[in-house]
């Protein structure tokens, strides 16, 4: 099997502020993100040869038009990518393969979601069946927390620590949805959403968009960021059961999709000791329990040690692996289709040393990770500096 390692480069990135953006619609968001990315890359819409756009809900967008219409990308290919919470990162993955194949020189990956226009609290998990239904997103992830409490003796305080850390990071980022530090007591005593997950264990409902301009390294070398462009070290995606709650072999102590995607990514990037080699990771902390499990599933620590990893500060910005220095989904926000692209914008800027929030010192290798559906899909992308 071949590899994407060092074959594609990021020319520029753009990201809107995330949050309850009542006055903006999806057109505003994608235009803001895409033009910021193009400005950053020093290209114009005419230079974009093909586009992939991540977007999950049909009520927030429709087909390739999600990006092609607001950006007027007519006469060229645009594809909507929908893969649960990995939609944005999968758009990036598809864009990378197109550039790596040589079919295109400059392409765009972007993502957008406009949740505020829909109303309702919490994302519905519709399994498409009239009676065999999923529950709310918090409920699906709470099933893991309950089982982990039982197996590992973790408590609500262990979850709260993740929230406190991510609020601390998010407070420093000008584009984050929630920008207020919180105390352990606030997080641990918050009202319940789906026991044992409370309000501060859940990411918010946010609007937002993000975009990346992708090319090959030989072109990046002659571009605006010729001295500090990032390259793709790995681009992995793995599926798992959409119906884990019906699967007797699913242990609810982690996500096989993440484990598989991480394994692929580390093999592709040649990483043998993730906790030592990776400087920062934007991981999918849709809920605090998810972040703890991601830390284990991504092999930053042993199974059952995730809560301890956070408790001992290894996930802090100055820790062993800075986990969610942006504030993560928890504080930065989670407009589904945009999230994966937003993470890769963040990782790129961290590697370039121009993070808008907390800067991880000497960041050279960073990861973006998504998980969705609730454990149906996981994508892991590793970005670094050129060889």
């Amino acid at each position: 099997m071949g590899s994407i390692k060092d074959k594609t480069a990021i020319m520029g990135v753009g990201c809107t502020r995330f949050g309850e953006l009542w006055e903006k619609d999806a057109e505003d968001l994608i235009v803001d993100a895409a033009f910021e990315a193009m400005d950053d890359a020093g290209v114009t819409p005419d230079d974009i040869e093909a586009t992939w756009v991540g977007n999950l809900y049909d009520f927030t967008g429709l087909s390739g038009s999600v990006a092609a219409e607001p950006l007027k990308l007519f006469g060229k290919p645009t594809t909507r990518v929908e893969n649960f919470c990995a939609s944005g990162m999968d758009a990036f993955r598809n864009a990378c393969f197109a550039v790596a194949s040589g079919a295109y020189d400059v392409v765009m990956a972007c993502g957008v979601e406009k949740l505020m226009d829909v109303g309702g609290s919490g994302l519905p998990v519709d399994m498409g069946h009239p009676v065999m239904r999923g529950a709310s997103a918090p409920a699906m992830f709470a099933l893991l927390a309950t089982r982990c409490f039982h197996e590992y003796g973790w408590t609500r305080e262990d979850l709260a620590r993740v929230a406190v850390k991510n609020h601390k990071n998010g407070a420093l980022h000008p584009k984050a949805h929630f920008r207020r530090p919180i105390t352990l007591e606030t997080a641990a005593n918050a009202p319940m959403i789906a026991w044992p997950l409370g309000r501060f264990d859940s990411c918010g409902m946010s609007d937002g968009a993000a975009a990346l301009i992708i090319t090959r390294p030989e072109i990046a070398k002659k571009s605006k960021h010729k001295h500090d462009y990032a390259v793709t070290k790995a681009n992995a995606l793995a599926m798992n059961s959409f119906l884990p709650m019906y699967r007797a072999s699913f242990d609810w102590l982690g996500f096989p999709a993440t484990q598989a995607a991480a394994k692929q990514a580390y093999a592709e990037a040649g990483i043998t000791n993730p906790a030592e080699e990776i400087d920062l990771a934007e991981v999918h902390d849709c809920f605090t329990i998810t972040e703890i499990l991601n830390i284990q599933d991504l092999q930053f620590c042993e199974r059952g040690e995730g809560a301890k990893f956070v408790r001992e500060g290894h996930a802090d910005v100055d820790g062993q692996v800075a986990i969610n220095p942006s504030g993560g989904l928890k504080c930065f926000g989670h407009p589904i289709g945009a999230t994966g692209c937003r993470m890769l914008c963040e990782v790129t800027k961290q590697i370039q040393g121009r993070a808008e929030g907390a800067q991880v010192k000497n960041a050279r290798l960073g990861m973006g990770h998504n998980l969705g559906g609730p454990g149906s899909v996981s994508s892991v992308t590793i970005l670094g500096l050129p060889e």
């Binding site: 918090p138 409920a139 089982r147 997950l197 699967r247």
Partner: protein, 471 residues
């Protein structure tokens, strides 16, 4: 002659004290308590529960029909007996029918079943009755009514023989509901009791005793349905039946459940009956039906059958009238509108109503819902369809405050259950206290109405903590 091969009953877990109801309105209270069906229960789901109780230990392949009796069918146009038969996982080449329109419908159905068995057109027919009638808020009816279901299995073979069927067609307005009425109506109760109930019931009962040459003194029990204990006593008195032989009318514990009352009382009588006992059954409603039940042998106890006593002993007190009002949707609330699909529902009938799963013949994994390709070993089309158990234990759970995007104060427990004998399912919990859920807790799987998406009743399964009998 047709026999009773088995019997069963169902009473919803919740009871509401009549004092609590009276307090809510500031009206006098009737003594005792009544049963209250949960918000996700209706006549059809209660019929499934009673039918399942009746069929405990019975070979389902021998059942040739289901007759469902009710005055509160969840559908005006669509048969309920067919849904009940599917949820009970019965054969499809059977006779199903709904009997409705009268409080006497249960014995009308029972007689039709006995005639079918006697004529040889069926080996056995499950007769199941249920009602969930509404009394007008603030009225005495609201306190007097109850919810429940009863069942009997009428067959060629069985411990008890049915004899001497007799019916009277006495036209009295009685209680009624026009098609547009939500609440039970009545005219002048005293006149109805005296000229309607008493005359019909006594005439029917007397004819049976005469025809079968049975001395009232030889009866072991008299199952006489009545809206109140005094009327029941009056019928017994007119027939010369000793008041001590009257089967409890459930007035104090359940209330008057309507159509199923006769089968619930019969189940109560049969639980106690011994070989040689003769029981007189008189059922009332737009005239009366009467017959004799004679036991040639004792009914063997069936594992898993709770019958009447088992259901009376498991209960939870409903804390307030508000809960009752909410369960019966007496207050207009915003509807949540989930999607329904009659096509998906029909195509998945074996998974949804019959609760079948699959077993991979290659790796042995028990799978639900039934996939084409095995989730464990990826073998294609080697899945045999199997019946899943209706009991399991909690593997993990959550208490979910979100229902279709709306925050609800009382969370809905969502349970991942490991089924006895294999398979794992994900069901919402009902009938229980969210705070008592824990990993390892035993749960039983019950048939309930999930939602009204696409304007039909989307029935499926939920689970509840296995109720403990009160001591």
């Amino acid at each position: 002659m047709a026999k009773i091969a088995s019997f069963g009953a169902y009473i919803p877990l919740f009871r509401l004290s009549r004092q609590e109801m009276a307090n809510a309105w500031g009206v006098p209270a009737v003594p005792g308590e009544r049963s209250v069906a949960n918000a996700d229960e209706d006549s059809l789901t209660m019929a499934v529960a009673a039918g399942s109780d009746c069929l405990a230990g019975i070979d389902l392949s021998t059942i040739d029909g289901v007759f469902f009796a009710t005055t509160t069918a969840p559908y005006d146009e669509k048969q309920c007996a067919g849904v009940i038969a599917a949820a009970l996982d019965l054969r499809t080449d059977i006779n199903t029918a709904d009997f409705t329109g009268s409080l006497r419908a249960a014995t009308t159905a029972l007689r039709a079943a006995a005639d079918a068995v006697d004529s040889g057109s069926a080996r056995s027919i499950l007769v199941v009755a249920a009602d969930c009638r509404l009394g007008e808020p603030e009225s005495m009816w609201e306190q007097l009514l109850g919810d429940g279901a009863g069942a009997v299995l009428i067959a060629k073979q069985g411990p008890a023989t049915l004899r001497g069927f007799n019916s009277t067609a006495g036209e009295q307005v009685g209680a009624w509901r026009r098609s547009e009425d939500r609440y039970v109506r009545s005219f002048e109760a005293k006149a109805e009791t005296r000229y309607g109930y008493l005359q019909s019931a006594v005439q029917a009962g007397k004819t049976v005793l005469d025809k079968e040459s049975v001395d009232p003194g030889d009866l072991a029990k008299a199952v006489i349905t009545a809206g109140d204990p005094r009327s029941q006593g009056a019928v017994a008195g007119s027939l010369g039946v000793d008041g001590g032989k009257l089967q409890d009318s459930l007035f104090m514990s359940v209330g008057n459940p309507g159509v199923p009352l006769v089968l619930m009382m019969l189940a109560g009588a049969l639980e106690q009956a011994k070989a040689g006992d003769k029981l007189l059954v008189i059922n009332n409603g737009d005239g009366a039906d009467a017959f004799l039940v004679e036991l040639a042998e004792d009914f063997a106890p069936a594992a898993g059958r709770k019958a009447l006593t088992g259901h009376l002993l498991q209960k939870r007190n409903l804390p307030s009238y508000t809960a009752y009002a909410s369960f019966r949707k007496l207050m207009k609330r915003e509807d949540i509108d989930p999607r329904g699909s009659a096509v998906t529902y029909w195509r998945d009938v074996n998974i949804v109503l019959r609760f079948h799963g699959g077993r991979c013949t290659n790796c042995g994994a028990v799978l639900y819902p039934i996939p084409r390709v095995c989730e464990e070993c990826a073998t294609k089309d080697q899945i045999e369809e199997i019946k899943l158990a209706k009991t399991g234990s909690v593997y993990t759970f959550t208490l979910d405050h979100l229902e279709a995007g709306k925050y609800v104060n009382v969370p809905v427990p969502r349970l991942v259950l490991d089924l006895e004998g294999g398979g794992r399912v994900f069901l919402s919990m009902t009938d229980g206290d969210p705070q008592e859920v824990e990993i390892g807790m035993s749960a039983e799987i019950v048939f309930r109405c999930l939602h009204e998406g696409s304007s039909f009743h989307n029935y499926y399964w939920k689970c509840r903590p296995v109720p403990e009998a009160i001591s």
